[in-house]
């Protein structure tokens, strides 16, 4: 039975939204599933080449018994993984990376929350992009800026740090470590601020009204309403930060090149040295695989937070 155009809302919407070209004839043949795979295939090819490909290649390179591509090589050899976990230099790099990530992320959560709370209290909407600017800058550009500020002879911050005796260059991680942390906090705190603010602004007005009825003060609102509801956003920022921080390279590399040519010994810096300077491809591949798996675990956290936010 032919449906009446005026009473069918879908057809009425179609009439309003799309003007049917006279020459169009319905073309049948492709099912939705076939179309889905056709549309997805270019992206899937790239995913296979860049997501799965390097992961599997690293696994292969790290387990190949006598070097990759050796004819007659059978089975697999875990010696490269043993050297990754037994090498004192790499273990030290792992420790420094963990310290760096822990200290920087804790500072970024705190500063990001404070900035978000200030924005939430003082700006009804907009204006937050000013705070977010460093998050959009290149880590290499940020590294150059902070190299200049920390230059031993004329850097504004090196003079200040020396004056206040803030940094002990002979300390366990050296002054480069704190320079790295400072620059990292500068770049990444805005991410936490922007996402925490999005969480704070996602609080329903109904919940605010209920808090009003209960005569809840700002402090109580903060801890019982805002923080719990912003937690998935903070968790997402932390997961993104950890996944990115596991292989953090650019900032440390540029800061190191700007100082005395020696970058803070993060795992990613050691990986680059192993692969491109020392030529130890098997150990580098094993380390790269371990890093990718660690980043994958953090990505799982990010995916969980994304699901929570979307479900809210």
């Amino acid at each position: 039975m032919r449906m009446d155009f005026t009473t069918n809302p879908y057809r009425a919407a179609a009439g309003a939204l799309v003007s049917r070209p006279p020459s169009i004839r319905p073309v049948r043949g492709l099912s939705d599933r076939a179309l889905a795979w056709i549309l997805l295939s270019p992206a899937l090819l790239l995913f296979a080449g860049l997501g799965l490909g390097p992961l599997l290649a690293n696994l292969y390179l790290s387990l190949a018994p006598a070097g990759p591509g050796t004819p007659g090589g059978a089975g697999f050899d875990t010696a490269s993984y043993v050297s990754v976990f037994a090498d004192p230099g790499l273990r030290r790099a792992g420790l420094i990376s963990a310290m760096y990530l822990g200290v920087a992320t804790a500072a970024e959560v705190a500063i990001g929350f404070a900035l978000a709370w200030l924005c939430h209290s003082s700006l009804r909407r907009g204006g937050t992009w000013v705070v977010a600017l460093p998050a959009m800058l290149s880590p290499a550009a940020a590294g150059l800026i902070w190299s200049y500020l920390h230059a031993p002879e004329f850097g504004v911050l090196s003079g200040l740090a020396g004056l206040l005796a803030l940094v002990d260059p002979a300390g366990p991680a050296g002054s480069g470590f704190w320079q790295l942390v400072l620059a990292d906090v500068w770049i990444w705190s805005p991410l936490f601020a922007v996402l925490t603010l999005a969480g704070l602004r996602s609080v329903s007005p109904d919940v605010e009204d209920m808090a009003d009825l209960d005569r809840a003060g700002p402090w109580r609102r903060l801890w019982t309403i805002s923080v719990p509801l912003a937690l998935p956003f903070i968790g997402l920022a932390a997961a993104i930060r950890l996944a990115s921080g596991v292989g953090s390279f650019a900032l440390a590399h540029v800061l190191g090149a700007g100082a005395d040519g020696t970058a803070v010994s993060l795992v990613a810096i050691e990986l680059e040295r192993l692969a491109f300077d020392a030529g130890r491809k098997d150990t580098a591949a094993a380390l790269a695989f371990v890093l990718a798996v660690a980043a994958l675990a953090a990505t799982g956290g990010a995916a969980w937070a994304l699901r929570r936010i979307r479900a809210a």
Binding site: A14, F47, L50, L306
Partner: protein, 282 residues
């Protein structure tokens, strides 16, 4: 609701009480946050001796010689621009198709695919660079920029799929269902009904992808080689060779960051969405 209309609520009274000190504190934070960048812009305009003296002079006659010196690095800047624009266009185009499929059509393991795209974007670039550099050497592609372009396109797609899916999810399905009831095929409905409404989201996504490709350092350093070198890969050379010329480096960073700041201004309403892979809809 406008501020004038809800002026009498408890929330607004609290806002008026807490708002002003918070605004002042926020302004101080914003200035402190921008200070390193502004200081570097000042260095780009300082005469060479004023850039490295202590105490640093605040007043001087601006010298644009550092910006003129950047002409020597024009080929690398052009390469970076071409690579960023090309990979952004390709990435957003491919990601739009994939995002539509994931948003509207039944795709087996769709959730797993989305996780795969997210994982690809968050995989450490340095871990990705080891096999890519090896493949580049084995295939004789060093100095062509092809592997770098493919890598950027792949990473751009991974980011863009998440962002575009969030935009496409917001377009009511009823629009294309109505079009299909009028006789459009699924593909025609996508092209004529969904795509025009997705254009603003595609533009925002392209801006974020452009910023990513423009800013990328690790793969540029480890995979690009003469004659096709991008500007970020020059940084260690400029810092190491006989002591850096800080005004030239500062001018380079200023020129480098200017388009990023401009794009940030353009997409300022969508920054939270861009940084959160489309989750935050501020």
């Amino acid at each position: 609701m406008s501020r004038r209309r809800d002026i009498g609520t408890d929330e607004d009274r609290w806002f008026r009480r807490a708002g002003r000190p918070a605004a002042v504190a926020l302004l101080v934070c914003a200035v402190a946050w921008a200070a390193p960048l502004l200081w570097f812009v000042r260095t780009s305009l300082a005469p060479p001796d004023a850039a490295t003296t202590t105490p640093a002079p605040l007043v001087f006659l601006p010298d644009t010689g550092a910006y003129a010196a950047l002409a020597a690095y024009l080929p690398e800047l052009v390469t970076s621009l071409a690579l960023a624009l090309g990979t952004t266009l390709a990435g957003v185009a491919l990601a739009t198709l994939a995002a539509y499929a994931l948003s509207r059509l039944r795709v087996p393991f769709g959730g797993g695919l989305m996780f795969g795209f997210l994982a690809t974007k968050l995989t450490p670039a340095v871990a990705m660079a080891v096999p890519l550099a090896l493949a580049q050497r084995l295939l004789g592609l060093e100095g062509t920029g092809l592997v770098l372009a493919l890598a950027y396109t792949g990473l751009t797609v991974s980011l863009a799929v998440w962002l575009l899916k969030s935009f496409l999810d917001e377009i009511p399905r009823e629009y294309e269902e109505a079009a299909m009831m009028e006789g459009y095929t699924r593909w025609q409905a996508f092209r004529r009904v969904v795509l025009p409404r997705a254009l603003p989201g595609m533009a925002v996504t392209a801006a974020f992808c452009l910023v990513f490709a423009w800013n990328e350092y690790t793969l540029a350093l480890l995979l690009s080689a003469a004659p096709v070198r991008t500007a970020p890969s020059l940084v260690p050379d400029l810092l190491g060779a006989g002591g850096p010329s800080w005004p030239v480096l500062a001018a380079g960073v200023t020129v480098w960051c200017a388009p990023v700041l401009l794009l940030t201004l353009v997409v300022r309403r969508h920054i939270a969405r861009g940084l959160s892979f489309g989750a935050a809809r501020q």
